[in-house]
Structures are given as C-alpha cells and as structure tokens.
Symmetry: C2
Subunit: 208 residues, 2 copies
DNA sequence: ATAGTTATTAACAATTTTGTCAAACAATTT
DNA sequence: AAATTGTTTGACAAAATTGTTAATAACTAT
C-alpha cells in the first residue's frame, strides 16, 4: 500500500453513505451496498458507525449545514438595494442547487416527512429566517411606498423563488426527456434557467 | 355483518396500499402495515395481489393515469386565445394538485428515479406532450409576431408553471411552519398561491 | 522485539419482511 | 345437503437486512 491511497475507511464509508442515502433515501439505502461502494466489509460500517441509523445521522448533519448555508445565501447581501439584493439572492441560491443537485430531493423526502428530523432543522433555521423575512418585508414596503416596486408579500415571493429554483433539480430526470433537445447541454440549460427565474421574479415586482 | 360494510377485502387492500405507498414510497411501505390498515391478515394481500411489487404496480397504473390527466389539463383549452388558455391551463393544473396533493412527491420519487418505470410513463405521454408544445409554440410565436406578448420559449414557460404549481405541494410541510401564520388556513393559502402563480406567468409574457 | 492499541475479516446471530400453504370457513350452485 | 368455488386465517418458510463477535492482522509507541 502506498501512502496516497491510505484514505481512512471511516471516510470512505462516509462518502459512500452520502451517495447511497442521497440517491436512494434512508429506506432504499442498503448497508451492504454502502460497504461495497466504500470497498470494505459491512462489518466495518458497524465498527465505525454502530448502526445504519447513526451513519444516516452523520450524513444528515452535513446536509442540514448545507441547507442552512443555502438558505442564508438565498437572503442575498443585506447591503445591496432591494432589487439587486433579490437578484443576488436568487442567483446564489440557484448556484447552491447546482453545486448540490441531489440535496433538494433528499431534503424534501427524508427530512420534511419525518417530524422528529424536521423539528431538528426547524429549530436551527426558523429564527434567523423570520428575521430575514421581516427585514426584507420592511425594505419591500419602503420601496413600494417610494413607488419603485409593486407592493409585495415576502413569504409569497420566497415561495415563488424556491419553487422556481428548486423544482428543476427535483424533477430533472423528468424534465430532461420531455424537453428533449432543449437540454442538450446541462450547463447551458442551467444558466438559462437561472436567468429565467430572475427574469420572472423581477417582472413580478417591478412596476409597469 | 350488514350488507353495507361488505366492501371487498380486495378493494380495502387497494385503498390501504395507495395510502401507504403514496406517503412512504415503495421502500418505506410495509405489506403488514397495509394489511393492518385494510383490517385483514397480510396473507390476504398475497392472496389477491401475489406480491408487494404487483400491488405497487396496481397503484402505479392509477397514478400514471392521474398524471396523464393532470398534464392534459395543464395544456388548457386549445380553443381559447393563448393568454386565456394559459390562465386556464395553470388553474386547472393547480386544481389537480389540490385534488391529489400526495401525487407529486410520489411521482417524482418513485417513478422518475426508476428508469424502467419512467420509460413506461414516458411512452404514454411524450408524444402528446410534444404535440401540445408545438401547438402552443406556434400560437405563442404568432401572438409575439402581432406584438401581443413577449417572445417566449414554451418549454421554459412550462417548466416555470410546473415549478410554481407543483413545488408548494412537494414542500408543504416545509413551507407551513416557516411561513407561519401566512398559512393559517390551507384553503385560503392555496387560492392565493394559485392566483400568484397565474400573476407571475402573466407578467412574464405580457409586454410592458 | 514487545505490549498495546486500532483496524479488519469472516462467520454467525437476530430481526424484519416478504411470501407460502394447508386447513377452516363462508357462500353459491346443483 | 352435497359439491363446488371462493375467502380467510394462523402458522410457517424463505429471503433479505441489520447487527455482533471472536479471532486475526496491522500499526504505534516504548
């Protein structure tokens, strides 16, 4: 064995588990399959992580952090003026999706549908989200007052942004064949999609 | 036993299975749990449906039909002028979501992620979808030519509509607590959401 | 080198889940 | 009412999956 390929089994298992859980979900994941991907016997998995459940929770902790970062990114830079800030937030959020395309489905299925897990996440993000919402709403109200934009309801707008930014990743395998040649190049499609989402939201809030 | 409660076990199992599969997915579903919900022994399940897989495929057939109907509804009434047709399509599609709120998640998870199932659906809807797309695109091009609307790319527009209409149902459990009092009444929220989605799409295509 | 620690393996145990079967039961037909 | 058919059950078998253990190997520090 050379020094280089001495990545710890513990780490190899973690990486294999991430792939397995993110693509198949908790119920669909198999500990044996994870061990095989990691190139170790499945006893190793239990040696390091005790149970499938505990291994899952290690992955969960990682994803919850990423989700938190993604949400923060979506709030945009508070120093920018509102319209620029929203553009920035949408683009950043979308970029996070591109970087973690498997996360949305995993998140929606594994976390949200399990009350005990969901409350775990909720406690960690709800308060700071409310703050940002209140902040955005007061800025939006002020801008509307000045006649710069339409009067908008921030929670509703955020749902629109999340819908537009997240759905293409949850449904990519569905979109791809139906849209056919439109998605000849994934990179190009994603760039177009990002621009389209920003365009949609801008047209929603700008006065005409 | 009265005559009235003599709903066949076969039917009871099917209904229980639908609930189980739609909420927990194939991997998460348990045949025993289905039997219990149906109020029969789990041997009955095998007597009528042979295997879990075959029972699942009965549910699948139902959902694929519903999905097909939903997609058709989303194409709107071809006799209406384009803008009205789109409004009609969005509203109808949204109403189908309200009527089958568990379908989107099930569909995205269980069908799309399994190539063999997906091709099954794809064969049954792809051709007629392409037709509608071509139809919509030529109408949109004509309307844009006349200066009535912006020049639009139909596949992209459809992705936007699907994103906006489907996501709230996939993510409802996430949206609910974060949005807090906004969703005090589900009925009202859904009506507002439907209107908002139409508004977003209209503003995207109408010239300003 | 040796003692002590950590890592690894193969075989095995426990549990869960799906699937089978023969016997009992109910309904229907002749 | 006897025969036929379809339904239901409980007990059991098979398979799949997770989890354990004892023996062994590899590494580390003295």
């Amino acid at each position: 064995m050379t020094e280089i390929d001495k990545i710890s089994s513990e780490q190899l298992i973690l990486e294999a588990a991430e792939q397995e859980f993110l693509t198949k979900g908790y119920d669909g994941a198999r500990t044996i399959s994870i061990a095989q991907k990691a190139g170790v016997t499945h006893a190793m998995l239990h040696y390091y992580y005790r149970t499938k459940r505990q291994l899952f929770e290690c992955i969960l902790a990682k994803t919850i952090n990423t989700v938190k970062e993604t949400m923060l990114a979506a709030m945009g830079d508070p120093n920018m003026p509102l319209v620029e800030r929203l553009k920035d937030g949408i683009a950043s959020h979308f970029d996070h999706m591109v970087a973690n395309p498997l996360l949305p489905r995993f998140f929606l299925n594994e976390i949200i549908s399990r009350p005990e897990l969901y409350s775990l996440l909720y406690e960690r993000v709800a308060s700071f989200i409310r703050e940002f919402f209140a902040d955005l709403q007061s800025e939006a109200d002020a801008a509307a007052e000045r006649g710069e934009i339409e009067k908008i309801d921030i929670p509703m707008l955020i749902i629109s942004i999340m819908s537009l930014n997240i759905f293409p990743f949850v449904a990519y395998h569905f979109i791809e064949p139906v849209m056919g040649t439109i998605i000849a190049d994934r990179e190009i499609f994603l760039e177009e999609r990002k621009a389209e989402n920003i365009e949609l939201i801008m047209r929603r809030i700008i006065k005409h």
